[in-house]
Structure formats: structure tokens, C-alpha cells
């Protein structure tokens, strides 16, 4: 007992000592802060790291971590929507940056403009200009991005490719040239998983097929969805689908990545959470154990998605929520969160020594490449389009009809207000 007490005293003293410098600059905010997210499991510790920083800076605030679990936030968003419609918003909630936020919540006039905060914190200079354009409209900036993921990456195992005698393809034409060779050796050329990974593959293919300018024009309504460029993208997509595994719909993205790791498949296109999976779970070394290139035909373009937090109008503890957003956008918060989450910081000045080899290369590209928004992960289009696109994709996987898919997309875009 005595020993335990002594230990506790030491811990207490240590905590006081460590806490002292922060306590000097600690705020006098009071009350509660409810943070609404879908980060649990593997992603939980990264969120905890941010909350720890917040607690140190604002010791008077009681943080309520309202997490609703479920992949890519399907469940959390349903809960959030019922709460918001009922007029009971959380203080701050997680949302994919871009149209998923703008098309749903900003259009409905439920968010506060964060431009003053961006200016006050000097974030206008530390965040890339392309990013600010994608998370804002002409009326303001709507969320603070916490992390950046890259969507257009192709993964492979260098040793396997050597064995099969192929090189990572630079363009889709290259891929279609080497795919039959792989198939002849009993290898699936491109591993695919359930529906949303098909959407994910489609955006990489479409970006390569139509180019970054047309891609941006598509989402700003300047290029129609049934134009020849889009039909061509669907045609190419159909050709690529021939070289994917036919049990795709029952696999998770991890299982599709496993196919590449186990040598059953040659390539996989997935966001860079696959790097986290291969380094952490599969214990492969980035660069030697597994390799990556930008997905074919998209070198020099960085298709991004980001998790972000916004400030809903009528948040019960507004001042506390703003303090939370300040932590999210800060260099300290960013570099505590991202190495744990396996993503990179949205800030141009992040401390790269804290990240692994893959993340360092992604961060380098982030600072130099052309930035475009992802469709599958909510940057480019709003919820209505995204949901409808998933069913169009299902129909395409069944019928393989590029004309019909392009036409359906055009109708959907009209409905979704693009």
C-alpha cells in the first residue's frame, strides 16, 4: 500500500512538472466539448493524441468523445444527420473535407465560416492553395483538415514483379499490355474488392483517361458527364475490369491487398492507408518489402482526401470547439496525429522526420504535385451524387455498358446539383 501511494505521489509530481509550462499558457475555458467522429479501433489512438493535447491546453474543459463506429462513417453519418435534423448538433464533428461537407451541410446553411480563424492562425499560408480552394466556396472556408490521404497509388511487391518479369506500368496502355502475360502465369493482374474500391479504381482510371483539367471541369459543371471524354473513361475502366478477380464483391480492401502481398495478384490500387496496413500489420518495409507508384497515367497529380472537422451553427460550446479546431490545425497537433493515423499532414511545414519512407515520399508529392479531389471519398461530389454513383457502379459491373453508365451519371449530376 505504502509503495503504491509513494508511486502515485511521484506520478503526480511528474505530471505537475510536465504540466507546468503548459499550465502557464492554459486557457480558462470551462464546460464541455463533444467531439463526434467515427475514429475507433486502429484510428482511436490518433484521436486520443489530439485530445491529450487539447486537455493540456484547456484543463477546465471536459471532453466527451462521442464515437460512432463503422467503416468510412456510414453509421456515424446517419446518427449525425438525425441529430442535426433534430436541432441537437455536437460541438464539432468529423467529416470528409470537400463536397461531402459543403454539399450537405454548407448548402443547408448549417456551418460557420472559418475564414477568420484561418486568417488569425496564419493557416492561409501553411496550407496549400489548392487545398483551401477545395475545402472552401466563394462564401468561406468550411473545415479544418486534420490529415491528407492520397487516393491514386498503385501498390506492388517488387520481388514478385521481378519473378513474373514485369515492370510497374506507367500508363494504362502499359498495364493492358502486360496484363495478359500475368494472367497466363495464373496471376490476377489487378486485385479488386467490394463496391467502394471499384469506385476508388474508377476515379484513378478516369483521372488518367481525361486528365486533371477535365477532371476539375467535370465537378464544376463545365464538362458534362455524358461527354465523349467520360464515355472513354468508362470504356477504359471496362477493359481494366477484365483483368480483376471475379470474387471481388465479397472481399474487403485488406483482403485485396493480401492478394498482392501473398503473390496471388500483381497490383492493387488503393489509398495510402494500404501503406499503413502493409507496414504495421504485414511488417513489410516500405520501398523494399512493398513498392508504390502513382496509379498509371496520373504521375504529377495528387488525388487527395482528408478528414476534417467543422463548426456547426448553434454548437452548444462554441468557444471550446474553436479551441479544438486550433489544436487540429496546429503543427503540434498535426504531427502528433498523423504518424499514428498513417497519413500525412496537410501543412506544408510538417516535421517529416516523424514519418516513414512512404509518407515522406507522399509529403514530397503533396508539396509539388497538382492537387485534385477524390470522388470515392467525398471531396469532389456531395452525398447525393456519391450514393447514386455507387448504384451506377453496381449496374456497370453487371452490364458493362459505358454509354448507359455515362448517361446515368449525367442524370444523377443534374439531380445532385453539380
Amino acid at each position: 500500500m505504502k509503495k503504491a501511494f509513494a508511486k502515485m505521489l511521484i506520478v503526480f509530481a511528474a505530471a505537475l512538472l510536465i504540466g507546468a509550462p503548459q499550465a502557464a499558457q492554459a486557457s480558462d475555458l470551462k464546460g464541455e466539448l463533444e467531439i463526434f467522429s467515427w475514429w475507433a479501433g486502429d484510428e482511436g489512438p490518433a484521436l486520443e493524441a489530439l485530445i491529450d493535447i487539447y486537455k493540456k491546453q484547456n484543463p477546465g474543459v471536459k471532453v466527451i468523445n462521442a464515437t460512432v463506429t463503422g467503416g468510412s462513417g456510414v453509421n456515424a453519418q446517419a446518427v449525425l444527420k438525425t441529430r442535426m435534423l433534430g436541432g441537437e448538433p455536437p460541438d464539432s464533428f468529423q467529416v470528409h473535407a470537400g463536397q461531402e461537407l459543403i454539399g450537405t451541410w454548407v448548402k443547408a446553411d448549417r456551418m460557420e465560416d472559418l475564414t477568420p480563424l484561418f486568417k488569425e492562425q496564419g493557416w492561409m499560408d501553411v496550407f496549400p492553395e489548392g487545398l483551401i480552394k477545395l475545402i472552401g466556396t466563394d462564401k468561406g472556408i468550411w473545415s479544418v483538415p486534420v490529415n491528407i490521404h492520397r487516393s491514386n497509388v498503385m501498390w506492388y511487391i517488387p520481388a514478385n514483379l521481378k519473378k513474373w518479369g514485369v515492370e510497374p506500368p506507367k500508363t494504362w496502355a502499359d498495364f493492358l499490355a502486360i496484363a495478359p502475360k500475368l494472367k497466363a502465369q495464373g496471376v490476377v493482374p489487378l486485385a479488386l474488392a467490394q463496391n467502394w474500391t471499384a469506385n476508388h479504381l474508377w476515379e484513378s482510371v478516369a483521372l488518367a483517361s481525361m486528365g486533371a483539367d477535365n477532371w476539375d471541369a467535370l465537378w464544376s459543371g463545365k464538362l458534362s458527364f455524358d461527354s465523349p471524354e467520360v464515355v472513354k473513361a468508362w470504356e477504359l475502366f471496362g477493359k481494366i475490369l477484365q483483368y480483376t478477380n471475379d470474387d471481388a464483391s465479397s472481399l474487403s480492401w485488406q483482403q485485396a491487398t493480401d492478394m498482392v502481398v501473398d503473390g496471388r495478384a500483381a497490383f492493387n490500387i488503393m489509398g495510402d492507408w494500404a501503406a499503413g496496413y502493409m507496414s504495421t500489420t504485414k511488417k513489410l518495409a516500405p520501398g523494399t518489402g512493398y513498392g508504390w507508384i502513382a496509379s498509371p497515367g496520373t504521375t504529377g497529380t495528387f488525388m487527395f482526401l482528408a478528414d476534417s472537422f467543422g463548426l456547426p451553427k448553434g454548437a452548444p460550446h462554441r468557444a471550446n470547439a474553436i479551441a479544438w479546431l486550433k489544436v487540429l490545425g496546429s503543427k503540434q497537433g498535426s504531427d502528433a496525429f498523423n504518424p499514428l493515423k498513417g497519413s500525412i499532414s496537410a501543412r506544408k511545414d510538417s516535421d517529416l522526420s516523424k514519418y516513414n519512407a512512404y509518407s515522406q515520399s507522399a509529403a514530397k508529392d503533396w508539396n509539388s504535385d497538382r492537387v485534385v479531389g477524390s470522388l470515392a471519398h467525398g471531396v469532389a461530389a456531395n452525398d447525393t451524387f456519391k450514393n447514386g454513383f455507387a448504384s451506377i457502379m453496381e449496374m456497370f459491373l453487371k452490364t458493362k455498358n459505358p454509354q448507359a453508365a455515362a448517361k446515368a451519371c449525367a442524370q444523377l449530376a443534374k439531380k445532385a446539383g453539380i
Binding site: 435534423l85 443547408a108 446553411d109 467490394q194 463496391n195 471475379d246 464483391s249 465479397s250 455507387a390 457502379m393
Partner: protein, 394 residues
């Protein structure tokens, strides 16, 4: 069933020689009963029927798209537009596929769970050793939640694992059937022809009812059912081309082989339940009746075919009602086994959730909900009507 109790029969209530007091007592009883029921009547009125009404109203508005999540979203009345769009619109293809899936699900689940449940019940009715234990084992799957059993079955039916590798242990080649991810479909039809197909089905039902009633009342059966059925069938056969296409292009739907896995899992979960229903029924049949049948020279098969199963018709009907609305509500099992976006195994209930809460199209989601509601009513209303008639006859 429940004869209304007369106040006079209650001991110590009122003596029959005081009719005035008796009346007052009776109306007081009625008032008490009414007051007891009132809260639940109000609650059901608001939370069931009021909400159904609200959903119907929502389904006839255009609540959706950007701005749907505003504190006071703008809604305009658009009539049946959402329904028309679901059944004939270009973007409703997924819903139509889900609807077709739901029909096949329901039919297969009913046939499988009722058939298998009855079969197990008959086996257990032979009073084998350890009947209690077997009964528990068969009933056990029902106690699992769909999410749990769905996850287990997902692993069992994985393309390169579970059931497919079983033959390997006996020295055979592993199976390659894709239980949950097959792209193939059978019994494919074109949605363009849906009106014609529905007319054929109606004719078929009329004729079947007629044939069924032929023994009971020949004249009525022919006049009311057989002739209209045959005429309708012939008309559609000859003038079918005049019936408008439901869709301006071809759209094929069918029974997707990938749904087989989900149907197996559902049957596994619910056949124990129907077994319990039937077993209770079989035990309720008096032993004398059975002995009498046996004495008359009935075989085991004959006993069940002509005596036991016809006697359990009410049980069969309630099993069909319960299972059919379970099959219409199917959600968690499919979510656990094949995920949210999977046209091959989709279901309207899943589609409704995604449309509403992922796509922000509240009016469209409400329309799907009402379509499901009407289909469920199609099963339940005839049953209720039948029940009332029976009571009236008594």
C-alpha cells in the same frame, strides 16, 4: 375465443335482481377498460399510424438533394413522382433489382424454412432418444443476432475458405462456387415486360384458385375464377404488344446466384423456429386421433399428409406471415454478409437506409419504405380479413 364475460357471472359483483346496478357496473367496467387502453391507443396512434402518415406525406414531396439537411428543409408536393421514378426511372435500376431480389428471397425463405422446419418437427415427433437436447440444438440459431450469424456465414461462404475447402479434407478438389459473389443469374426477365408478366401471374392465380375450388362449388369456380383467368391469359397472349413497356430500354433482372448464400443463412436461422411451432402443434394433436388413424391402416406418411399437417393449417399460416415480413425487413444479415453496395444481393430495406442517410434523399427513401409497407400489407391484410371472417362465423 374470449367470450365477453358477463358482469353477473363475477362472484360478488352485483346480484341479478338489481338490473339497474348491473348496468351501471357494466358501463363502469367498460369505462375502466377504455381508460386503461387509452394511453396505448394514443401512443400507437401517434407513433405508428401518425408516422406512417408522415412517411406517406414525405414520400410525395421532393425533400432531398443539397439543402436537405437545413434546419427547416424546403419540401414541395410532387405527387407520385418518386414512385414513378423508382419503378420506371433511369436511376431506379438498383431499386428494381433489389425488389426482384426481395421477391426471390421471400419465396425461397418461406419454402425453405417452412419445409425444413416441418421436416425436422416430423422427425422429432417420432420421439427419438434425446429429443429435448436435439430440440434445443435446432432452436439455438434463433437466439443469435443476425449480425453475428451473418459474420459467421460470411466466413463459411468465403470464396477460398469455409464450405468450399471442405471436400479437401476428404481428398477431393475444393469447390469453386462463389456463394456470395457470383455474378451469374437465372430466371432472368426483362423489366420492360413487367406489366405483361404481372398480368400473366394474375391470370395464373385466378386459374389456380378456380382449380382449387372446383371440387367445392363447380359453378362458382368456373364462373368467378376459371373463365376470367383464362380470358385474361389469352388477352395478354394475343394483345400483349399493346400493353406499354414499363421502361424505355431493356433492363434484365433475375435470381442472382450470390443470394443463395444469404438464403441458406436465413433458412438456417429460422427453420428451428418453425420447427418449434410445428412440434408444439404435433404435440397438441391427441394421441387418440393418431391411434385411430393407425388403426384405420394409415401409414406414417399418410398420417402426416392427411391428418396432422392439415390440422396445423393455422400454424402454417402464422409461420408464413411471420417469415414473410421478416424476409421483407431483412437488413442486418445482408449488411454483415455482403456489405452495403452489392446489387447482386441487395434488398429494398438496405437501399432505403442508404438512400435516406447516405444519399440525403429523404423523400425517395420514404417512397421505398412505403413500397415495402404495401408489400407487407399484401401478406398480412388477407390473413387479418380471414381471421375476422372466422370470428364472425363463430
Amino acid at each position: 375465443m374470449n367470450q365477453p364475460r358477463r358482469a353477473g357471472s363475477i362472484p360478488g359483483a352485483a346480484r341479478p335482481d338489481q338490473p339497474d346496478l348491473l348496468m351501471r357496473e357494466a358501463s363502469l367496467d367498460k369505462l375502466k377498460a377504455f381508460l386503461t387502453l387509452l394511453p396505448s391507443m394514443i401512443l400507437i396512434g401517434v407513433f405508428v399510424y401518425g408516422f406512417i402518415g408522415n412517411t406517406i406525406w414525405t414520400s410525395m414531396t421532393d425533400w432531398g438533394g443539397s439543402g436537405a439537411m437545413a434546419l427547416n428543409p424546403q419540401k414541395h408536393f410532387v405527387g407520385l413522382e418518386n414512385y414513378i421514378d423508382l419503378f420506371t426511372g433511369f436511376l431506379g435500376g438498383n431499386f428494381r433489382q433489389d425488389l426482384v431480389n426481395a421477391v426471390y428471397y421471400s419465396v425461397m425463405l418461406l419454402a425453405g424454412a417452412v419445409g425444413l422446419g416441418m421436416f425436422i418437427a416430423i422427425l422429432l415427433d417420432q420421439k427419438p432418444k434425446g429429443e429435448d437436447l436435439l430440440r434445443t440444438i435446432f432452436l439455438y440459431p434463433m437466439s443469435l443476432s443476425f449480425i453475428v450469424s451473418g459474420t459467421i456465414w460470411r466466413w463459411l461462404l468465403a470464396p477460398q475458405g469455409g464450405v468450399n475447402v471442405l471436400p479437401k479434407y476428404f481428398g477431393f478438389k475444393p469447390l469453386t462456387f462463389k456463394w456470395l459473389s457470383s455474378q451469374a443469374a437465372i430466371l432472368v426477365f426483362n423489366w420492360q415486360d413487367i406489366l405483361r408478366i404481372l398480368a400473366y401471374i394474375a391470370a395464373f392465380i385466378l386459374i389456380m384458385v378456380g382449380v382449387f375450388l372446383l371440387r367445392k362449388d363447380q359453378g362458382k369456380a368456373i364462373k368467378r375464377w376459371l373463365i376470367p383467368g383464362i380470358v385474361l391469359g389469352a388477352l395478354v397472349w394475343i394483345f400483349g404488344g399493346l400493353i406499354p413497356d414499363a421502361l424505355f430500354m431493356e433492363e434484365e433482372h433475375g435470381f442472382n446466384l450470390a443470394t443463395l448464400g444469404i438464403i441458406i443463412a436465413t433458412i438456417w436461422q429460422y427453420s428451428g423456429y418453425t420447427m418449434a411451432l410445428y412440434l408444439a402443434g404435433f404435440n397438441g394433436i391427441s394421441q387418440d386421433l393418431r391411434d385411430a388413424a393407425m388403426l384405420d391402416g394409415a401409414s406414417q406418411v399418410g398420417y402426416y399428409r392427411y391428418v396432422a399437417i392439415p390440422m396445423l393449417k393455422p400454424i402454417t399460416i402464422s409461420a408464413v406471415i411471420i417469415l414473410s415480413h421478416i424476409s421483407l425487413k431483412m437488413f442486418d444479415l445482408i449488411f454483415a454478409m455482403t456489405g452495403p453496395d452489392n446489387a447482386a444481393t441487395g434488398h429494398p430495406a438496405l437501399n432505403m437506409y442508404l438512400t435516406t442517410f447516405r444519399g440525403n434523399e429523404f423523400s425517395r427513401g420514404a417512397a421505398i419504405a412505403i413500397v415495402l409497407f404495401l408489400i407487407a400489407a399484401m401478406f398480412i391484410v388477407p390473413y387479418l380479413v380471414g381471421q375476422y371472417r372466422q370470428q364472425g362465423r363463430r
